[in-house]
Symmetry: D2
Subunit: 367 residues, 4 copies
Amino acid sequence: MSLNTFGHLFRVTTWGESHGPALGATVDGCPPGIALDEPMIQHWLDRRKPGQSKYTTQRREADAVRILSGVYEGRTTGTPIQLMIENTDQRSKDYGEIAEKFRPGHADITYWQKYGIRDPRGGGRSSARETAARVAAGSVARAALNHLAPEVRITGYMVQMGRLRADRDRFDLSEVERNPFWSPDAAAAEIWAGHLDELRKSGNSVGAVIEVVASGVPAGLGAPVYGKLDTDLAAAMMSINAVKGVEFGEGMAAAELTGTENADEIFMGNDGRPRFSSNHAGGILGGISSGQDVVVRFAVKPTSSILTPRRTITVTGEETEIVTKGRHDPCVGIRAVPVGEAMMACVLLDHLLLHRGQVGDAGGRIG
Amino acid sequence: MSLNTFGHLFRVTTWGESHGPALGATVDGCPPGIALDEPMIQHWLDRRKPGQSKYTTQRREADAVRILSGVYEGRTTGTPIQLMIENTDQRSKDYGEIAEKFRPGHADITYWQKYGIRDPRGGGRSSARETAARVAAGSVARAALNHLAPEVRITGYMVQMGRLRADRDRFDLSEVERNPFWSPDAAAAEIWAGHLDELRKSGNSVGAVIEVVASGVPAGLGAPVYGKLDTDLAAAMMSINAVKGVEFGEGMAAAELTGTENADEIFMGNDGRPRFSSNHAGGILGGISSGQDVVVRFAVKPTSSILTPRRTITVTGEETEIVTKGRHDPCVGIRAVPVGEAMMACVLLDHLLLHRGQVGDAGGRIG
Amino acid sequence: MSLNTFGHLFRVTTWGESHGPALGATVDGCPPGIALDEPMIQHWLDRRKPGQSKYTTQRREADAVRILSGVYEGRTTGTPIQLMIENTDQRSKDYGEIAEKFRPGHADITYWQKYGIRDPRGGGRSSARETAARVAAGSVARAALNHLAPEVRITGYMVQMGRLRADRDRFDLSEVERNPFWSPDAAAAEIWAGHLDELRKSGNSVGAVIEVVASGVPAGLGAPVYGKLDTDLAAAMMSINAVKGVEFGEGMAAAELTGTENADEIFMGNDGRPRFSSNHAGGILGGISSGQDVVVRFAVKPTSSILTPRRTITVTGEETEIVTKGRHDPCVGIRAVPVGEAMMACVLLDHLLLHRGQVGDAGGRIG
Amino acid sequence: MSLNTFGHLFRVTTWGESHGPALGATVDGCPPGIALDEPMIQHWLDRRKPGQSKYTTQRREADAVRILSGVYEGRTTGTPIQLMIENTDQRSKDYGEIAEKFRPGHADITYWQKYGIRDPRGGGRSSARETAARVAAGSVARAALNHLAPEVRITGYMVQMGRLRADRDRFDLSEVERNPFWSPDAAAAEIWAGHLDELRKSGNSVGAVIEVVASGVPAGLGAPVYGKLDTDLAAAMMSINAVKGVEFGEGMAAAELTGTENADEIFMGNDGRPRFSSNHAGGILGGISSGQDVVVRFAVKPTSSILTPRRTITVTGEETEIVTKGRHDPCVGIRAVPVGEAMMACVLLDHLLLHRGQVGDAGGRIG
């Protein structure tokens, strides 16, 4: 990963600012011959789109994607795919104050410290709008995965909002698309709704934990020891705006287990593949997929753009206070769900290609 | 990051297996003119070396490093630095059984699934011995940091063993080097000692949480949006053997906070630099260092090599049981402390060079 | 260099096909704070634009560039710069026949062999239209060089058309912009005009040799041994459509010299820098710039799209004949001049940043 | 390509100086399961070894290679392969003078200008000894090619020494191994022998042109537009010490041809593959292999280490004279032959893996 590109063979470079004319993704290394058109991408973009419920920012963006290159007569050609999304609902006047003041907990100050210049309109490059480009790229990855590894299924959902956790005993993945929080626990979704209503009215925000699961992932993906599957997924998720932690399987809680508890015992399945008694590992051992579900979770911090006044400084070093008006997500974690799915899709496809490149069909069979 | 190399400008490629003739690191992109000799590297390697207390593997390795290139008359020349450590205490006979059986929770099975061949002696490439090469490379990074950013201090320590957490109210960094667990809480170290004694005697193992703090990091390091400082640090830490989660500042707990709670308010310090009321962010905003302490934590799972019999399968698909004899660490987290420090040093230096390359002195000043 | 991206720190990814909606360049890693606007880029694009004389393709493209990101209030922000050029004069009907037949000497057949699909309209991705994106990116590099190394001057010109060579004794760089061939030898330009008229009328084409010189290049640029300045320049020039050879200084003719003849003797200049008696080396020793003029030449083969019938095969394996109608350049070498300059600018800036990253001010002084 | 690494998936990092303890190559990304042992590598190293005839340097190096990692029981494991060659015949005393003076035409001065420090013993990192590591890495690539594309044959030979060219009408590849110049023209070899004897006695040196041909290369290799096969081969060859020009097929002479002359007409072969009437293109169209022989040539300049006194300056800026004693190659081009072959092998394997990764079996068939 480097600067604005990620991926080894399936390489995604995103570009664009929140209030510039457009943003997008340059996708390089996609296999040729994959069926792809704009509606296929739009389908996934629409899931991330702002303004779809009262729980996300009221900015109204069509997020309409255009394919500018790399596709001929509905199929990828193997050359770079340029995906462009025009910005249409920029209200830059909302952002006058933050051109001079740094929002606490926001990238305003560090972009300034690093570059000595920043586009303050809507957070510029550091805006969560950049994630639309990830979702667009992710939909290309999904199309290719659908062709090369059709058994892969990627599902993201929210498992925690603030201190309120969903209950795994009530998990039903068919619920995920039925509530505005992508919650697999319908009861939790109702509780979260009430909680977020209160926070929103008081001009506050809250964090969340997102889980993304990929099932049907072939064994053998991941390139130890610095291109491990979990290494690349950790980087991919951590690069999403506002993410502060990433974990696999037991994650941070793995520290609490003994070796006896943590070992996922191995048996032979009826399909001639290994079967595991549990999945503490989150589907990855030594950085390589085992064939079990790949399970990653990440924590999204609360938006720093809040109505409560906070102490801060100006570009010229004056101490002052700031209140962020604008239009913001009270819980950005919600819209991070499709983004996490997209990153999973990109990383899995990338490692599928990388593995095919190095190893081809030479992988090991058991039995 | 790709395959066995990490870093953008300061690039480290590690090589070698647990029971091969040697292992090492090829370090490319080091600035020229940096004072460096073997004792400087040995100093850091000795901290990671096995067999130093009863709490780590009893394998006896001198871990003596040789500089084979890139240094002339005690200074780096800007050309690749080859660091070699010969393996001397290989008892391959200990590993007969695991050539045929896969240890549950270990990379044995996935290396086989991926490559169709594996070096089973001591875990081959997936062995934690690989981390000696990281520590060697990290010591080069430290030498360069010492020259380019002498105010940087990197300190790693253990904050949790199993369910037993160190108490931050008792933290005293001067304690870290005084106990075999790198604990800043002397009382916790004593409790851990008893706990680990029991586990070790019962042939079991346990996980841990390590924290690494870098103070004195210049503001402006990190290359959004896919080469963010936290992105690269997350990848660096996740690539360490047995790590299952990585977090910055509040980390996974950031999900529990509101925007009001999470905002680190900003003031002007007496030194003319920004001063923050708190450090929920772990020193990184928008992927760029703010000048605050960079704080990363990672969870290390318990070793899968345990004496308790576990169910598993053989290469030929037979179901069976396994007990791992060999010489193992009951808590590999202990030896991960110097490794985490080394990764921090490498990533910081890399981003210092990357920033100098793109931005030079053009960064922004406040006031 | 990989797939559709080149550069280490200043990274350019081009995208787009000859007859798609648009093409462009995603430029990442540009230093912040550089003055840049669309007219500055348009200036260089206009020099490469087709249809400017009867000696280049009659396709009429405005080649109007839009900056979609990475620039705020007329200065670069350090984030990715997206440069888009819309295609406006696509006459795809001209290309019906070549969808079925492979033009001898053209990439038609190999794109098909590689990808199993190709965009045949105007050569798709393999069209020389892609080079507009390079010129756009090169103009960003020039803007940054102008800021960071203002003494650098890059001049490209044609030194040979077919068997007709310009005469170095008549070289006058002020002539370069005064004739349609970028010839520094006004007399040669007249001869070439007559020669090309004949070839054009007979539906034939011809090759050329282009030379690009960069003066004022600081000593010390280039990263041995695989990121040498000449290595990267050779790759940059060889990647231009139709280029078959690249050479530095004496180039292929260096084989004919003895060591005595080839040595550029060194003296001390009045400015305290080394002065060389000659420049057989083309300004690069051991892959590092010496401070002398960097001199590269490359040969451009004749266009394969010609009116003379040639034997070929169809996609289904039938033997047949082909005549390429369309609108083509009788000597594509002409329009390669601004492209070669652009590649030189990109590579020099990239190495300037790379050198600053690794070495900073630690380079050696003489005297 | 970056710094001391080249390759996309099959990545080679070389390290080591002429007079350090050792040098070598870290080879990453090799497919697993490839038969490999030290004698297989030694075979190719012995061809490059110095001191084999009076026409190469009299330095006596065994160039004995050791495999330190990545191979288990005679087969590659897919993990990094470390190849080490110890230096045994360093006579550093020969190099006293050049620690203070810069040899004209040598990298002495630019390494100093770049890094402010250099290892002067035998040219340090800029010595042609570095190419031993390339040959070692190339032999790994050959082993993998032998497995994955067994029809590939790579043959290098000298086609020109000074102004004396071999005669293509007399070419007989079986002669190549029978004379000390790798000449396919036995008569030329005799003439060169006399010429070089004279030059050697007079303490002078001379340049050469090397040609490397790969037959049996599958169609479809190369990743346009910046990872083209000829782009990567040009970089690979240009990175070899003393190379000043690289060309494919007609090369620089392509400039002299018309489109009618240059077009390689296409027919259907009896084997159902395309057959070409000629190979002006050198086997590469649009940066992708066509199935024809890949033909590259490169020019090697004369060694700058000569006995004739030349004017130069010292590190402190004094003007002086230099005569290089040491032990040098009167025609380094000779030993560049196996190096060029090795680079060809590495690049071909790399592109084979890259193509397999992106495209798999989806390439196009004709007929």
